[in-house]
Amino acid sequence: MTTRIQKEARKESLLINMGPSHPAMHGTIRIMLELDGEKVRNSEVEVGYLHRGFEKTCENKTYFNLLPYTDRLNYVSPLINNVGYVMTIEKLMDIKVPERAQYIRVIMSELSRISDHLTALAAMTMECGAFTVFLYYIKAREEIWNVIEKTTGARMTTSYIRIGGVRTDLHPDFKTDVAKAMKVTRDVLRDVKGLLDKNKIWIDRTRGVAVVSPDMAINYGFTGPCLRASGVKYDVRKAHPYLVYDRLDFIVPLGEKGDNYDRYMVRMKEMEQSLRIVEQCVEKIPESVPEVKGKIEPAEAIKASRARKPDAKIKLSPNLKGSEKEKYPSILTDSKGVKVPPKEDTYTGIEGLINHFKFFMRGHGIRPPKGEVYFSVEGGSGELGYYIVSDGTDQPYRLHLRGPCFHIVSALEEMIKGHYIADVIPTFGSTNMIGGELDR
């Protein structure tokens, strides 16, 4: 099949296929280039190599079960995807979330945003040949992911944010761990600034390349750092504050020209703001220490149950490690029927067991009222919106995702036109295209 560019190309130009397997086309995308020497005369971007039918799959899953699928959208910042989806459902069902859980969500969102920006810039700088900078960024991301791993139990596919709250409470060492991760990140940002900000080669490579005017950015539907690099002040966190963002002090950095340098700079500054947000949240977060009364080892618990003492209260923790919880941490909503009942109740009481079955049975579970809802959060690379149509059953009638990269990548052809082949790659990197989110 001849593509558009094959028909349009001049006879004397060199047609070249960048991707789908090219070292810089991370996340499989194909760009057909029509080259005049090394200059890009024309190009055609082909997306869809990572299409997995996300939206259709979601129509066949219950509201609770499709949560892990959202992890796989923007796999560099899965927690923000979770937050976006979960809050859409909460908006539809009008669920109130405990404050502590809201703070945890903000902390996790911002940590994910930092890791997202770190990854995007790491890829962009490495594609310009600065391999050391790449490894510095990855070092910082490693620290952040360690914190995320220790909290959520997973590094990428976290599924940590649940409808009505979050899955588990923060672990006891969270404050020190976060402080360490933030120190490492700050050091890395300082080092990278020293290496790149005033580096003549870096400025030459990025200044004036792939300029996106504010009008063009708005027309294409840019959001996030790419839009702000063009000088348009729009951030979902400020424009439509959700969670506790209206109580936090942060600024929205803006670029001037909308070129690759600005997209780099805006991300660098945003990471600093995100660090500030995390710091404020760690300070302001309301405490929730579960009262621990004694401890029963699992073996003892089993022994006690075999002895058939009806008055013996046996309580097991969710992880079955034997630590007993008298009071549940305030991280999940009180509304019934939208949360998984705590395992302590499921294993020890008939009511908990029934709740558990009711929650997981097909046709029961989470059943939002009929209606449609759109809710968006500020994702790693822009406005991440979910549109859900509910028909009253436990499965969404329709779920649509507004992925930020899709709109940005659609402008790629115009952005790289007339530039050199070496500019295609950092420009592509600066859009922070994530295959999982783009192709869904």
């Binding site: 070249i16 810089a24 700088t125 594609e127 310009c128 490894l135 080669i201 030459d204 050199y420 070496a422």
Partner: protein, 354 residues
């Protein structure tokens, strides 16, 4: 004849062995810069010694890999290309002086394989010829990406070769000879009675131009356009195994030969400051007389130390900067380095005629 053969064997073994271990140095230095550990797993009966066996393991791996030639390429030329690059760079070592003379049994041996009367031109010519390997590999692989790489290589060479040659004219004006031995000989003298008369003090601008142009010649970041692994994947995309290894190896040999040239032309070659044929004569008074053998040893060690320093410097630069763009590189060569080197020549001429 036998003498020349032995000397050449010594020189080439030194050259190849050091290039081999330069891969280790590069890995370790970049690891230190990037908070990593670097290669340290290769061992010999359980002995790791900081991964010093890694280059040997790499070499064995390269040699035992499949020698693959794409079906759509021309087999003979495809095989020839890496050897062209390798050969032209490997030969250049024969003109580099490692020390002055070694007296064995009343006979004088120069510590230099061959002292050509056009030494500088010879080295420049061979280094330029090595680009044919790049162009050939880019073209013969019959792949559009490698073709771009080959073209970039030739364009880059043309932009830089001029500046490289012009930057050395200053040196030839100051030390009026093309022979390496004589250029090094001139640098044994003293300026103002205490400062060694090294090229760096007479031609500071020339040194900077030469360093930049030579790094461009070695095709490493920030000038690694023919390779450009994230952009065009490189002119050697269609190579594997030993032939790919030869290209990599040639890269390191170029680093080493550039370090040798920098040492020889700008940093007094094998000269130790204030060391003469009979020992040290310090400018502040005081002598330390040494036997002939020790003096030669000092010279060879000093030469090696200087070479190591410049290898270290080049690796440091390589892991610090991002890559230039094709047009910026040409601009840099034609619009900045060449005018600057012409100015250097003019300034040198004016100063010398004073």
């Amino acid at each position: 004849m036998i003498e020349a053969l032995i000397k050449f064997l010594c020189a080439i073994v030194w050259f190849l062995l050091l290039s081999l271990y330069l891969t280790w140095a590069e890995r370790k230095e970049s690891a230190v810069m990037q908070d990593r550990v670097g290669a340290n797993r290769a061992n010999f009966f359980g002995f790791r010694i900081l991964g010093l066996f890694q280059p040997l393991a790499d070499a064995i791996k390269m040699m035992t890999k499949e020698d693959f030639t794409p079906a759509f390429s021309k087999r003979f030329l495809h095989n020839l290309a890496p050897f062209l690059s390798f050969f032209f760079v490997a030969v250049t070592i024969s003109t580099i002086p490692f020390g002055s003379h070694l007296m064995i049994g009343g006979k004088e041996f120069r510590l230099q394989v061959i002292d050509l009367n056009v030494g500088i031109l010879f080295v420049l010519a061979l280094l330029a010829l090595s680009i044919y390997g790049v162009i050939l590999s880019g073209w013969v692989s019959n792949n559009r990406w490698t073709l771009l790489g080959g073209l970039r290589g030739s364009a880059q060479l043309i932009s830089y070769e001029v500046a490289l040659g012009l930057s050395l004219i200053g040196i030839i004006m100051v030390f009026p000879s093309l022979k390496f031995s004589e250029i090094v000989g001139f640098q044994s003298e003293l300026l103002f009675g205490w400062l060694p008369k090294w090229g760096v003090f007479l031609q500071p601008l020339g040194l900077i131009i030469f360093l930049m142009a030579a790094m461009a010649e070695s095709e490493r970041v920030p000038f690694d356009l023919p390779e450009g692994e994230s952009e065009i994947v490189g002119f050697f995309t269609e190579y594997g195994g030993l032939k790919y290894g030869l290209y990599m190896f040639t890269d390191f040999m170029k680093v080493l030969i550039i370090a040798c040239l920098l040492t020889t032309l700008f940093f007094g070659g094998y000269h130790v400051p204030w060391l003469y044929a009979d020992g040290f004569h310090f400018p502040w008074g005081g002598d330390w007389l040494l036997p002939h053998g020790i003096v030669v040893l000092f010279q060879v060690i000093m030469f090696n130390l200087k070479v190591f320093f410049f290898c270290w410097l080049q690796i440091l630069i390589r892991w610090t900067y991002p890559r230039f763009r094709y047009d910026q590189l040409m601009d840099f060569g034609w619009k900045f380095l060449i005018p600057l080197s012409l100015f250097n020549i003019a300034a040198t001429a004016v100063l010398m005629s004073l």
